[in-house]
């Protein structure tokens, strides 16, 4: 025990002495098999967590970040279930990763009601993620209501683009 303590002290002090900072990502390497190889982890020298490599891999479902909805609906349709669950598993396996879920609506009707509806969309995704292993602290769900449309104008093609929840990773 005392040995461990002394080692810790040394590490601490030498860290101070050398004035270098170890990237936080080292804490994340432990344990589970999430497909990350050691070189991936060491590869990031900018301080940017290397799990982003996986998130941005166009072949991975994790590169998809939006859930779309029917009019006035807030439940995640079955076709988007796997997308939400994949992100949930990723969060579970990378406890340092965190996301903001932004709920959005089309621009019909009251702005405040749409804000609440967007919130409900984001909350629904959040709940599914937590049930699939992500931690509450990793997820903040917010709403942008109808304020940040992807597509402009009226008509179902624009509206359906705007009824969505976006998954944004912090630090990305």
């Amino acid at each position: 025990m005392r040995k461990l303590l002394s080692i810790a002290l040394i590490v601490l002090l030498s860290a101070c002495a050398s004035q270098t900072t170890q990237p936080d990502v080292e804490d994340l390497t432990s344990g589970t098999d999430n497909g990350l190889s050691g070189s991936d982890l060491m590869g990031s020298d900018s301080g940017r967590p290397s799990y982003f490599n996986q998130l941005n891999d166009p072949n991975s479902i994790l590169s998809q970040r939006s859930v779309f909805y029917d009019y006035d609906s807030y439940t995640v349709a079955s076709e988007y279930r796997e997308l939400v669950l994949s992100h949930a598993r990723f969060l579970r396996d990378n406890p340092a990763a965190s996301v903001i879920l932004q709920g959005n609506t089309d621009d019909r009707g009251s702005r405040e009601y749409n804000l609440a509806l967007g919130q409900r969309r984001a909350d629904s995704v959040k709940n599914m993620m937590i049930l699939s292993g992500a931690q509450d602290v990793q997820i903040e769900s917010v709403s942008l209501g109808e304020e940040k449309p992807h597509a402009m104008g009226h008509g179902e093609s624009a509206w359906s683009q705007n009824r969505r929840t976006d998954i944004l990773y912090r630090g990305e």
Binding site: K3, L13, Y74, L131
Partner: protein, 299 residues
């Protein structure tokens, strides 16, 4: 910086000396233990993974959300239905009052075509005086004006309430203000504001003693007294009505109310006499029917 370097050296030397206490074999043992623990942990994690990957929870959640939506819709339907129910009840009440008015006019041969006023005439539910089954036999309150003569112009308005009996054809049909003030008083009664209603009807009687609505006002004063459980005052009020408007069609109802009050006061004999009197004097009135029924009940 110097101090820090000194500490570092000190600690390093400590460390070296500690390390020498442990042999190689001891370290290996510890490593084996740790390996075993790691393996156990991996098995547990694999189990948890499995538990979480089995999507039962997520499906359950989706179900809960769907149920929430359906619950909302059901809630909405209940809200709509209770609203429609309330509206229907109100409409039904209005229909009843209207129908009652029309029937009353038909039942009174020789009475004038319906006058423009249409105050509610059904006896309110909150009223305690007549038993519930008497609802249909709601006391008529006006239209007891005969078409022949309307001495409205010639009426000596200085004649006050207590100045001797007035026959029906001495009564004038109500004007709009008169009608309004009667309706206001009646609304008070219907809302259960009996004290207010009494004051308003008394006021009405003071202002329009010769109105065709006056007997009705007098009758409702008695009824309001009854509802307040002031039975003696109720009897007095109805007696005043009978004395003042002896040939009003309100008289049988007034007698019935007197009898009910007398029973309430425990005066069964007087009550029975009043009922018998009612039966004898107004055998064809609706009130008489009630009186007959009640007499058979108390035998």
């Amino acid at each position: 910086m110097l101090i820090r370097a000194f500490f570092l050296l000190l600690l390093l030397s400590c460390n070296v000396s500690y390390a020498s206490f442990f042999g190689d074999s001891e370290a290996r043992e510890q490593i084996d233990v740790l390996r075993k623990q790691v393996k156990e942990m991996e098995v547990r994690i694999a189990k948890m993974d499995q538990a979480l990957n089995n999507q039962a929870l997520v499906e359950l959640y989706t179900r809960v959300e769907t149920l929430g939506l359906e619950l909302g819709k059901l809630n909405g339907q209940i809200e709509m239905l209770s609203n429609e129910n309330a509206l229907l009840q109100k409409r039904q009440r209005d229909f009843y009052i209207d129908l009652d008015n029309r029937l009353r006019q038909i039942e009174q041969p020789g009475s004038r075509a319906p006058s423009s006023h249409s105050e509610p005439q059904s006896s309110p539910r909150s009223m305690a005086a007549p038993p519930p089954d008497e609802h249909a036999a709601a006391p008529p309150i006006n239209n007891d004006i005969t078409p022949e003569s309307f001495p409205a112009e010639g009426v000596d308005s200085s004649r006050a309430m207590d100045s001797g009996p007035l026959s029906a054809n001495e009564l004038a049909p109500p004007g709009p203000v008169e009608n309004g003030s009667y309706k206001e008083a009646y609304d008070s009664f219907r809302n259960g504001e009996y004290t207010n209603a009494i004051a308003q009807f008394e006021n009405f009687l003071g202002n329009y003693p010769r109105s065709s609505l006056a007997p009705g006002a007098a009758y409702w004063i008695g009824n309001a007294r009854y509802a307040l459980r002031d039975y003696q005052l109720a009897i007095d009020a109805q007696k005043r009505l009978i004395g003042k408007y002896p040939d009003s069609n309100k008289v049988p109802d007034a007698l019935l109310n007197i009898a009910t009050s007398q029973f309430e006061m425990g005066d069964r004999n007087t009550g029975r006499k009043t009922l018998e009197n009612l039966l004898a004097s107004y055998p064809h009135s609706e009130a008489a029917g009630k009186a007959k029924q009640r007499l058979s009940n108390i035998k």
